[in-house]
Amino acid sequence: MTHSHSSQPKSFLTRSLRSALFLALALGAVSGCHKNAANSANPDINAPTPAPLPPMPTASLSADPLAIDLGQSVVLNWRTTDATNVSIEGLGTVNPNGTQTVSPTASTNFHIVAKGDGGTTEASIRVTVRIPIAPVAPADTTATADMGSESVFHDNVQDLYFDYDSYELRADAQASAVKSASFLVAHPDIRIVVGGYCDDRGSAEYNLALGENRANAAKTALVNAGIAPARIRVVSYGKEKQFCTDESESCWQQNRRAQFSLDR
């Protein structure tokens, strides 16, 4: 069904494209013939021989050194010939040949314009000014710039859920851990904390051990998938923090998890 439907409009489209192309080629050929005929009909054979022109001015501009630190100065040196008016942008009109010391506060293109009877010649030179940049604390850059957004992280690194009183990774959790690991490989600046959680049944002190084991199971899965252990921190919350407080299996399942968050 789908195949027969799609082939019909495709062949129709091909046909109409072909005819449109043919029409366009034909029109182009006709108009081209007219133009060529008009040009060849007016040859410029009676023009007078021009008088010798005054020579074009020449201009050269150099700077020494080409790169300075902020506050240092640079020597500009310029030479011109056949010029009646020489100006440098920012310095105004100057002698045809000269030298000047300048202290630009930012990287500048020095531009010389030499005007003469024969025309105008320009030259330019770029002086780079190195402005020191205040160093930024590395923690700030990793936290804001490199860790990425919370929502992107949670889309790609999803929490793992566990069976009752178990810290074995289920098949779905294994698959999810592999996906998370590939995201973490692609974002090497992300550090994560794995929280281990338990449902509210059983002993509070024993559940801290169970939560620790769940978080470590998640960490081990990531480490086996190539993530450096130093990027992963483990915290067990036991049953001291809950995602949901109903006494039902679906709620208990919510609480039996290894939760991933950015370790900011």
Binding site: S203, Y206, L208, A209, V235, E240, K241, T245
Partner: protein, 464 residues
Amino acid sequence: MDRTPRKLRTHVTLSRSAIAVLLLALATLFVPPDRAQDNILTGTSSGVTTIRIAVADFKPLAADPQTAAFRQTFDATLYADLASAGIFDIVSKSLMPPGSPGAPAEVQLQSYSNAPASAAMLVFGSLGQAGGKLVANGFLFDVKNLQYPQVIAKKYSEVPSEDSARQIAHRFADEVIYRLGGGIPGIAETKIYYVQMTGNLTSDVSKEIWQMDYDGANQRPITHLGAISISPRVSPDNTRLAFASLGRYGFQLKMYSLLLDRYVAFPIGNGSTESPAWAPSGNELAYASAPNGSFEIWVADSNGNLGRRITSFRGGNVSPTYNPKTGAQIAFVSDRTGLPQLYIMNSDGSSVQQMTDGGYASSPSWSPNGQFLAFAWDRKYGPGAPGGQDIYVMEVATRKWTQLTHDGGRCDFPSWSPDNRHIVYANSSDGRANHMRIWTMLTDGTQRRPLTGPGADMPNWSWK
């Protein structure tokens, strides 16, 4: 006489403490081999006949309303202390002869020894203010001994206040219990440390460590961390409080000085640490720690130094508790065979023995006399399984156990009183954490009563 449903009773009338001591010792020695599993002998179910005692209201020595208020507090506290001691059969108020004798000369002994009071012992005295002090004169008389009835005569003098009235009553009650209870000191001046929860478990939960008197009075916070702090354990000399608190790097042990009212350094680092337990010497603590990802039992000195691992089974090993009598053994919980079970071992980690072999066992507390373990046990653990998590007591030598709570919802964290006669525990009738409250009971499971409102958990009874 058979007011309480006990299977084993020896009908002996006691009049002197020496006999009481002997009987207690004999009764705990005689564990008949054909005894049913659920019938071990604990401190209060040891076959000793309770002593019938009459507690008269104290006579006011002044008519002012302040003294009347103090006297009401005093009488109520003294009566409650003796009623909950677990060794007395108290003459109910309606059977008492009229009047309040304030001094030995005012007592008609026969009126207490005859029916309906039928008392063996009488507590009476007077309370008043003299010279800016609250003064109490307390007496314990053997009403069957007409010639020399006086057993105790005590005088107390304190700054007048509601709390003084309570404290005097506690001290006098402890004297009476010490004299009539086989020479075991009373517990009326002991404290209970516990966890008080505020907020919601899913968002802003906070748990602080609180302290209260053994009878639930004077509840007050110790910590103000705004964090989740659990598992309080007070040192044997009542000077320091160890507990676990949740921080950025998980649960870590903290140490609070009750003398200095501030935290003191306790540098057990490296990974999660929790469930501290004091050795009876006060020089060492056992705790659970997971520096390498697996919780094991560790022991360190009381300053948090020289930590060493004493278990080596991957998984969860938590909740250590010392044998308070010897300090030579530690009970703990381990999941090395599956669900968590109760184990004991020597305090150097040798001679591990499994004590429970099924269900889900947790939160052991070793009795001060070294004979029993109290713990929480869900014997048919699993989704939809019958029964629930209840408090059990096991005799260490025989591994015979008895169930103390029944069908009352989830019970956890039993902790023995220093006199072996009471167990404080946490109970939530519907299993929810925010409905947990702290209860006390005798070690035979009778006289259960709540000490706190909801949100209280993890009680720990002081050592003295």
